[in-house]
Amino acid sequence: MSNENDRQSVLSDLGTRLAGGVHADAGIGRASEPASDFAILPWANVVKIGGQSIMDRGRSAVGPVVDEIVANLNRHKMILGTGAGTRARHVYSLAIDLGLPVGVLTVLGTAVAWQNAQMLQYLLAKHGIAFLEPQEFGSLAHYLMERGAVICQGMPPYKLWEANPDSGRIPPQRTDTGCFLIAEVFGARKMIYVKDEDGLYTADPKKDPGARHIARISVQDLLARDLNDLVVERAVLELMLNAHHIREIQFVNGLKPGQLTAALDGEPVGTVIFNADLARGAQA
């Protein structure tokens, strides 16, 4: 049915090389490298609202963050993703005890991020802000243009297809990763994580009073330090190394009014993790 002549007629030059080989061929991967990178939504900002750090605190923390989002609706376009938090921790520990696999834990964790996204949407509904499921992302640009923001749950839609971690049973790609990949695929202007710390420290400031703040660090440096704990999922740091669009990610303290706005305005608040490898950046 499909002979070489048929293939040649439908395929471009690169297409012919792809059709002749397999995805696993490293040479073909490199051959696709010089292609240009088109940024789909270069003016969009992805803002992740933390689960345990913001949402679980209720009105005292969520209220001021919502006010700040509303104040920025006419200034910046925002894709708002939510984290999961303490209910995810509970359902993960229960599911691990029941012997359920990582893919099932991902389905369960997604439901928690979804709950938080719904709550945030109720609080922003009167400003015309919609909630979008992953399969509705085709409408995302429209909502951003018309209303200035949209809400989505932060988990990537991997569900049962989530890969196992190197160690343990907790899904390795959660809401930090899902939001990062949204920013990367749309070629977004900024990826901002709103948590309950001023950013990255040399140790967990909740547990170690001697921990020092880090204002700016390269992802290469951070990975080389091989820290036991991090401000962000490890998967995000690994994906940053391969990203074509997102050169840096920023972490701000959502408990301090004004930090989100400052980050949206391009100010160096909190912690910035940047990619020191300029090769990828030259393409963007």
Partner: protein
């Protein structure tokens, strides 16, 4: 049950207030996994290797699936083939990112999976989109006689940018494997147009040796220039909890699938 503090409301659990990024916390969560569907056999029909060849290659494979229907519970993941290569090349030329390319390519394997489901419909096979795999697979297997699904995982816009280039790293090999892994399947069998793995390309290197059995970590160390499977699958196998091997067999050779289902040593098996 609830621990109410001045600022945050926590649900009591072993992971309460813990950083889920902390390696020590993560290591504590290591525990055995229960198989959800231990009798399941997950079979992949290759896109370029089987589907694109049309009925001469595909119908004997489907006949063999039907012949094994009473003996084995089978679900079929299908690969995209040449149409995915075409849209990847057009999409890359337009500068689209990997996540957009993955979303586009997944439609080509959905077409192939739908065709396979039509050809197996009279034997009770149903086509299940990803949300229905999540919600309905066990019920469908109890009521129907098998299922067909899109081999490409539903990563869509969230697909990872690869280390080189833009080609989505998780194709129908990885997606088929992950379905087997999460359900704790009895076997995962990939039907391709080669007998399995060789130490080199048998088409160009006459001295290339056939590999009947290998560990995933060893295969990564060998760093072969070409593989008949996705590299991401080999990497996933190194972290397997339930589905600890994958068998690659030549789907163009009648009887291979039946032998693989019976647990006979045909083709190449890659172990954890």
């Amino acid at each position: 049950m609830n621990d109410i503090r001045a600022e945050a409301l926590h649900v009591v659990s072993t992971l309460m207030r813990e950083s889920l990024v902390d390696r020590k916390v993560i290591a504590r969560t290591e525990a055995p996994v229960r198989a959800i569907l231990p009798d399941l056999n997950v079979i992949q029909i290759g896109g370029l290797s089987i589907m694109d060849r049309g009925q001469s290659a595909l119908m004997p494979v489907l006949d063999e699936i039907v012949a094994n229907q009473h003996e084995h519970t089978q679900i079929i993941g299908v690969g995209p083939g040449v149409r995915a290569r075409h849209i990847l090349s057009v999409g890359m030329d337009l500068g689209l990112p990997t996540g957009a390319l993955a979303t586009l390519a997944a439609k080509s394997s959905a077409q192939n999976a739908y065709m396979v489901s039509c050809l197996l419909a009279s034997h009770g096979f149903v086509y299940l989109e990803a949300p229905f795999i999540v919600q309905l697979l066990p019920a469908m297997l109890a009521a129907a006689r098998g299922a067909v699904f899109n081999g490409i995982p539903p990563y869509d816009l969230w697909e990872h940018p690869p280390a080189f280039g833009k080609i989505p790293p998780h194709g129908s090999d990885a997606g088929t494997y992950l379905v087997g892994e999460v359900f704790g399947a009895r076997s995962i069998i990939l039907l391709k147009d080669v007998d399995g793995l060789y130490s080199g390309d048998p088409k160009t290197e006459p001295n290339a040796k056939f590999i009947s059995e290998i560990h995933a970590s060893e295969l990564i160390r060998m760093d072969l220039p070409t593989l008949p499977i996705e590299k991401s699958l080999v990497s996933l196998l190194t972290r397997a909890k339930s589905a600890k091997s994958v068998r690659i067999v030549n789907g163009l050779v009648p009887g291979n699938l039946t032998r693989a289902l019976a647990g006979e040593p045909v083709g190449t098996v890659i172990h954890l």
